[in-house]
């Protein structure tokens, strides 16, 4: 892979990190309300996987999806405006942080029901298959969702029907306050896939190149008719589950140890060592990203409120979709 590609991976992760750090501030400032789930620490996963997808592929994510939305190329301004609840937001201000959508990029959100996106992904893939379209559907979910019946049903259906689905399990070891070992009797998640005769790999989710390599291989196999594939992406959430979480369930030490494996810092050092990145490049990158984030905030600030009269619009369709 070329240096420029590596620099781009670094930039993508940095964009997400700075964007969300700003979101946290804006939450304190009460510009953003509701639930806010930060992806900080897990950026390598969304960047590595989604960067390996094609425009015609589909993405289904969770309520912790800012990183996925940005990695998919959604405009930061529209995403930020959505969190502000502005009409210029990617969901018209109706969804907020948990419900980012972008039909033009086949970004199907943004689902706040744990496991709820999994059956949806199976259906998107079924449609692509029945219409002989080359699309692959990547669905993201946490390790906590593995305990849900919908995970089981969706895995079986995708495998049984050989559908082009890439199951991306973001194993950050906690589901709110519930550690994996208190959620699963068998914590080796790739064994679940085996029970559906689905191929599966576990991947270091803190190493963006490892994620990218695994994802590319898996996507290629899925696209070429190899059936669905399961990726366990081992990562960690550096921040609380949401802005309300006092984090009683884990120690500061545990978090600190994981922070030493910060995917951005690890990759930055590596590129510096390789000489692919200079300190100046880095400073410039930080600058560009900071500008992008500030213009996103400016866009959101300048946004308008949806007129209350439009509350009942789109309960039902105004036009018939083709």
């Amino acid at each position: 892979m070329s240096d420029s590609h590596h620099l781009d991976l670094l930039r993508q992760m940095l964009r997400i990190r700075r964007f969300e750090e700003r979101c946290a501030q804006l939450y304190q400032a009460e510009k953003i309300r509701g639930f806010l789930h930060l992806y900080i620490g897990e950026e390598a996963v969304a960047v590595g996987v989604i960067g390996s997808l094609q425009p015609d592929d589909a993405v289904v994510a969770t309520y912790r999806e800012h990183g996925h939305a940005l990695a998919r190329g959604m405009e930061p301004g529209k995403v930020m405006a959505e969190m502000y609840g502005k009409m210029e937001g990617c969901s018209r201000g109706r969804g907020g942080s948990m419900h980012l959508f972008d039909a033009s990029r086949r970004f199907y959100g943004g689902n706040a029901i744990v496991g709820g996106g999994l059956p949806l992904a199976v259906g998107l893939a079924l449609a692509d298959r029945l219409r002989d379209r080359p699309g692959v559907t990547a669905v993201f979910f946490g390790e906590g969702a593995v305990a849900e019946g919908e995970f089981h049903e969706a895995m079986n259906l995708a495998a049984l029907w050989d559908l082009p689905v890439l199951f991306c399990c973001e194993n950050n070891l906690y589901a709110m306050g519930t550690a994996l070992e208190r959620s699963e009797s068998q914590t080796r998640l790739t064994l679940k896939a085996a029970s559906y005769e689905m191929s599966a790999w576990d991947v270091d989710g803190m190493d963006v190149l490892a994620v990218e390599e695994a994802a590319s291989k898996a996507i290629e196999s899925v696209r070429s008719g190899g059936g669905p594939h399961f990726l366990e992406l081992r990562t960690f959430r550096f921040r609380a589950h949401s802005m309300f979480d006092p984090e009683l369930y884990r120690s500061k030490e545990e978090v600190e140890i994981w922070k030493e494996r910060d995917p951005i810092e690890l990759f930055r050092r590596r590129l510096l060592a390789d000489g692919a990145l200079t300190e100046d490049d880095w400073a410039a990158m930080e600058n560009d990203v900071a500008e992008e984030v500030e213009s996103a905030v400016a866009f959101a600030e300048a946004g308008t409120w949806e007129p209350v009269e439009e509350l009942t619009r789109f309960v039902y369709s105004e036009v018939v979709p083709s």
Partner: protein
């Protein structure tokens, strides 16, 4: 709605449904049928019998016992441009798919600011009357009618069984079709020249002036029997078939009130907070001074449905009760 002039043929409700599915699949290759045992078994109620041979396993798709996943998959397929008909064998099992129906199908369009349409049709059998006991006898149409974003229809006639589905498949939003198990064997005349029918208007199935009997779905035949008995007793009962529970045709309901001033609502569902409550409530809000008598509701007794025939019959609305309620309102 059957006009007298046109030639008709006699078929069953089941056959009308099957014809509707076959015809829709022939016209539009985006349409497919998916559900438990719709293929090789021929459909739990034999509605899809023979379709597998005609359309093959891709479009007549047997699913595992995974209500949440295959309904959710139908929603995803609809989002991606197909026109799935998802058959949930019975409303009793739809409880396992409610999260997908309520939290995804019903919300996605509004929540995405108008970006994502979910043109799915979900068919399910409903109702009791065949001694299948408590877990297989629910009538939860009222629950579905409670949810914005869904459309809920209840074909009760052969013509609606034949012609509601094409309209539902043209609809850009999720439509839930409730088929009462007791109707499948019913026969009726279908006009040869029929065509798609609307999904939102109630229809007067029998004119009348003294009292109105408002009902839908599997209770329509019972209600017509009651109206007939009332006629023998010199009472002219109008019968309004709601056809759609969401949206409710409030205009038609109010017109019925204005013309008869006495209302009996007949609903196989439980009374408390069911669709019968909504009908009574909308009248109490919008036409209370039109009433010459209190509203009466004839619904299932609020018990889990018992197996024994005599107990099940006692639990379900019967023509005799409808007649009694109407007579009480009319005062003779």
């Amino acid at each position: 709605m059957t006009s007298i002039a046109t030639p008709t043929r006699t078929i069953t409700y089941r056959e009308a449904m099957r014809e509707a599915i076959r015809d829709s699949m022939q016209r539009d290759d985006r349409v497919f049928l998916m559900g438990e045992d719709v293929g090789r078994y021929g459909g739990c109620y034999a509605v899809s019998k023979g379709l597998l041979e005609e359309f093959g396993p891709d479009r007549i798709r047997d699913t595992p016992l995974s209500e949440s996943a295959f309904v959710g998959a139908g929603i995803g397929a609809a989002l991606a441009g197909l026109r799935p008909i998802v058959e949930v064998m019975t409303v009793n099992f739809s409880l396992l798919a409610l999260d997908q129906i309520v939290n995804t199908a019903a919300l996605y369009l509004h929540m995405s600011g108008g970006q994502f349409h979910v043109p799915i049709v979900i068919r399910m059998t409903t109702g009791a009357g065949r001694q299948l006991a408590a877990q297989h006898s629910h009538s939860l149409e009222g629950w579905y009618a409670h949810v914005p974003g869904l459309k809920v229809v209840t074909p009760a006639t052969i013509e609606d069984a034949r012609w509601m589905l094409p309209t539902a498949l043209e609809d850009p939003d999720p439509v839930v079709i409730f088929e009462h198990a007791g109707l499948y064997n019913s026969e009726g005349d279908l006009p040869e020249q029929g065509g798609p029918v609307d999904l939102d208007r109630a229809v007067v199935r029998r004119p009348g002036t003294d009292v109105a009997l408002i009902t839908y779905g599997g209770s329509l035949p019972k209600t017509l029997i009651a109206a007939h008995e009332l006629a023998d007793q010199g009472i002219s009962a109008q019968v309004l078939d709601l056809r759609s529970l969401r949206p409710l045709d409030t205009e038609a309901i109010l017109a019925t009130v204005a013309s008869t001033h006495r209302i009996v609502v007949v609903d196989e569902g439980w009374k408390t907070a069911g669709i019968s409550a909504e009908i009574a409530a909308s009248i109490a809000e919008q036409a209370i001074w039109e009433l010459d008598a209190p509203i009466r509701r004839v619904c299932s007794v609020e018990v889990p449905m018992p197996y024994a025939r005599h107990m099940e019959e006692a639990a379900l609305p019967q023509p005799a009760e409808i007649v009694a309620a109407a007579r009480e309102l009319v005062g003779r």
